[in-house]
């Protein structure tokens, strides 16, 4: 039977851990609110860019812009969005697993794979496996800034146009709800936008484009790609805080359960020691009397 002091120490240490996880849960809850707000505020813009792109692309030939053109696939590039910090349950594990199995499969097909990462966890994970990321960005565990994503996106677009790779995939945790985040895979390049049917072609011609359709296309398509990445990052951020909040809530619950169990054990041990002492006294008294 463990002695009383040991149990007492354990209870004290678990209480402390519980305090920390409870505080972290509260911090995550407020960060989650902020991230969720950013995500919802982003939506009208994302939808707007999407709608504009779709309407401009009506009747456009795939050959007319490198971002639309499907090439023979020899090299594939992935961007994995993870978190900088841990203690967020299966958040990173899930997305890294999804990306790793995709990479494995592509390798089997004999494709060249390039890895890019956002967040420290993904960078460490791939570096450990001997696939050092081509580009890696960290420091996104806070507000997502459009300008920073623009830099990331521009680099990727530039490399794509220069033929460094033929397809570009995005891996991030999709935010379904506070309880559910799903690893998600999206092909960003070449752009998969539906070019519309003949019917759409005529509707698309109604617009006047100034300076010209091509000029607008040249500016809008990269923008659309960047916006897609931006929206994925804001979503991943929200998922991260949600995952952390849930993980910390579970940890807090576990710690109070453990404290209950240990308190019971402590009381039992105390009772046993009192009984033993009483037996001693009674035994002693009997010996004297």
């Amino acid at each position: 039977m463990p002695n009383l002091k040991d149990i007492k120490n354990r209870i004290a240490s678990i209480k402390n851990t519980g305090k920390i996880t409870r505080a972290m849960k509260m911090v995550s809850a407020s960060k989650l609110k902020r991230a969720q707000l950013t995500m919802t505020q982003t939506r009208p813009y994302v939808r707007g860019i999407d709608a504009m792109t779709t309407s401009i692309l009506r009747g456009v030939e795939r050959e007319s812009h490198p971002l639309l053109l499907k090439r023979e696939v020899n090299a594939v590039e992935v961007l994995v969005i993870s978190s900088d910090k841990g203690l967020c349950g299966a958040y990173n594990t899930n997305i890294l697993k999804a990306a790793a199995s995709f990479i494995e499969e592509s390798k089997k097909k004999g494709l060249n794979i390039g890895v890019n990462t956002i967040g420290k966890k993904a960078k460490d994970y791939f570096s450990r496996r001997g696939m050092s990321p081509r580009y890696s960005w960290t420091g996104f565990s806070r507000d997502v800034i459009y300008g920073e994503i623009e830099e990331i996106g521009s680099k990727i677009i530039e490399d794509y146009i220069n033929g460094v790779f033929d397809e570009f995939y995005l891996f991030y945790n999709e935010f379904k709800s506070v309880m559910v985040q799903e690893p998600s895979q999206a092909r960003v390049l070449p752009m998969s936008t539906d070019l519309g049917s003949d019917e759409g072609k005529e509707a698309g011609n109604d617009f006047i484009y100034e300076p010209s359709k091509d000029t607008i296309l040249n500016r809008l398509l990269p923008k659309s790609v960047i916006t897609q990445i931006f929206s994925a990052v804001t979503e991943a951020r929200t998922s991260e805080e949600a995952a952390r909040m849930v993980a910390m809530e579970n940890a807090t619950k576990n710690s109070s359960e453990m404290i209950d169990k240990l308190t019971l054990e402590y009381n039992k041990a105390r009772q046993a020691s009192i009984t033993a002492e009483l037996m001693d006294i009674v035994g002693g008294a009997a010996a004297i009397g």
Binding site: T42, Y45, I49, M52, S55, F207, Y209, P211, K223
Partner: protein
């Protein structure tokens, strides 16, 4: 046909304004353009500049940091990297930003082939933005 325009300005950080107005004048890359209700469908790119709108005889101004405009009869949709209503612009901060950009520009100018360097282009763009922000607030009527 209705005689109002629905003006909607959206940035990655949220909707800056949504209102029914009588007229919009916007900074296009090909020069300023005006939109009245019933305008023909029209898409264009935008420069950094000031968007002006009229509503009930009053004039409102919004700073626009490039982007796109889609006009569809009675609807004007502006998708911009960032936008601020003139009354939301913090002049003190903009003045500080302008000073920063100016000193940065002077620093970069000393270097070789300044005209083409990224730093130069960035600093100049930052300066343009702050100057136009200030202009946006100055023209309050």
């Amino acid at each position: 046909m209705e005689k109002v325009l629905k003006l909607n300005i959206v940035t990655p950080y949220g909707q800056v304004m949504e209102d029914e107005v009588d007229e919009v004048i916007s900074p296009g890359t090909e020069g300023e353009f005006g939109v009245l209700p019933g305008h023909v469908p029209f898409v264009t790119t935008l420069n950094v500049g000031t968007l002006t709108y009229k509503k009930d005889g009053r004039i409102g101004r919004v700073f626009i940091n490039s982007g796109y405009a889609e006009v569809d009869y009675n609807r004007v949709l502006i998708l911009s990297d960032s936008a601020e209503k003139s009354e939301d612009i913090d002049l003190e901060r903009v003045e500080a930003a302008k000073k920063r950009a100016e000193s940065r520009l002077n620093e970069v100018r000393e270097l070789k082939d300044a005209g083409g360097s990224i730093d130069f282009v960035r600093a100049r763009a930052a300066l343009t933005r702050s100057v136009i922000r200030i202009k946006t607030t100055e023209n309050k009527r």
